[in-house]
Symmetry: C2
Subunit: 248 residues, 2 copies
């Protein structure tokens, strides 16, 4: 039985339903913050920069509300087993979503600096794909949770690996562009940190997806959490041939 289909037949269920409602509201705000921060950058829209930064405060506040509501629910209803797991999962997901909001806010702040600098047009296309992919991934990870669909959750974790590869390739592309033209070092540095923000959002989607698996099994998936990106081990940029950089 998915959470959506759950019949409300107890005080606990009523409280839980309210909690999950808050969590989905928060999820919607966070999805918007990813979209707004991306559009601010790609459409050079300074209004959306401000909106992203402002909405992060709202995201932080709703996370506080969710944590408090969850703790009150645990103290009052003393849920056990799968009921308790559900409440804990909601707490963890709200904490993860808060961190996604931080990533969007950081992207927005860096966009302010980037919009003042000329950048090679080739720097944006792959990043735009990365941004879109992470936004969809966060949405799908929340759907997997609310539908308690562990297959969908597994698919999110698989797609996060693709996002890591996209980020890897962007990282190498930017290093190559910097070496070719040191004058664009500063704006490209900001773009590198922005790419890293999106890569991290992908990790957070995996973290959310893992909670769906935790709900079914009572434990997290085996193996080391894939939290980090392989660019941490990179010792040099790609050659132009490797990633099709145009010198424009």
């Amino acid at each position: 039985m998915s959470i959506e289909q759950r019949h409300i037949d107890s005080a606990f269920d009523e409280d839980l339903d309210r909690l999950l409602g808050q969590l989905m509201t928060m999820g919607g705000l966070v999805e918007s913050s990813i979209r707004d921060s991306s559009e601010a950058l790609f459409l050079k829209d300074i209004e959306l920069v401000d909106q992203t930064i402002r909405s992060d405060a709202r995201i932080d506040a709703i996370e506080e509300e969710i944590q408090l509501a969850a703790v009150n629910l645990i103290a009052l209803r003393q849920p056990r087993a799968s009921d308790l797991r559900m409440v804990m999962a909601a707490m963890r997901i709200s904490s993860i979503l808060e961190r996604v909001g931080d990533c969007s806010k950081n992207t927005a702040k860096r966009t302010t600096a980037i919009l003042q600098s000329p950048l090679p047009g080739s720097a944006f296309s792959a990043l735009e794909r990365l941004a879109r992919a992470t936004q969809v991934l966060v949405k799908d990870s929340l759907d997997a949770f609310i539908q308690t669909d562990e297959h969908k959750a597994g698919d999110v974790i698989r797609r996060d690996h693709e996002i890591d590869q996209m980020h890897n390739s962007i990282f190498r592309q930017y290093l190559a562009l910097m070496e070719q033209n040191p004058k664009v070092t500063t704006p490209l540095m900001h773009l590198l940190f922005i790419a890293k923000n999106f890569e991290r959002i992908g990790d957070h989607a995996t973290g959310i997806a893992e909670q769906s698996i935790y709900l079914k099994t009572g434990s997290l998936p085996d193996g080391e959490r894939k939290k980090d990106d392989s660019t941490a081990f990179l010792t040099g940029p790609a050659t132009p041939a490797e990633n099709g950089i145009r010198k424009d």
Copy 2:
């Protein structure tokens, strides 16, 4: 009355005491991970790289234990008011410490790449001071919590601003070095991300300190949380005169 002096006179206090013991064990592990990751980098010690990465798994596991113990404590003892705040603060701090462990692990991974590349000697001295400052800050933030000393907590938050300034100056120094010598772009990029890890650890220390204030007042300090660094707005590197870069 500080937490240390608290007389154990109920089942709740006994459980809480055990929980805080776990939290302090976790704090010790995390302080070690900051020190190990720093020494790995500055002493070029690959053994310490491995040790930092391994210890992060232990840190993640103890965070899970703390979250579960806290939730069980809330369900079983139904603490209210300041007792409940204490348990929630312990949960939040363990979640923050887990993120500090992630920063150390990321620094260790990047160190592997850096140790293979020649770097200007001037790149390390300010970073070493930053690393040491953040390690002490995390220790002091945990002391402020366990002693419920809000003045010490306020001091941590103040010193985090100094850490932000140190990071700001390093960021500009590295950008200038990259522009001067594009061949060191890749290793300096890793150093930039490492500096950012330390800056972020400072933010986490502030997050821990805020919990001491939350314990006293029931709410977080006023004003926007200083989670981000001002380098996000930087539009260019420092001039050599500004930060005393030697061209070596």
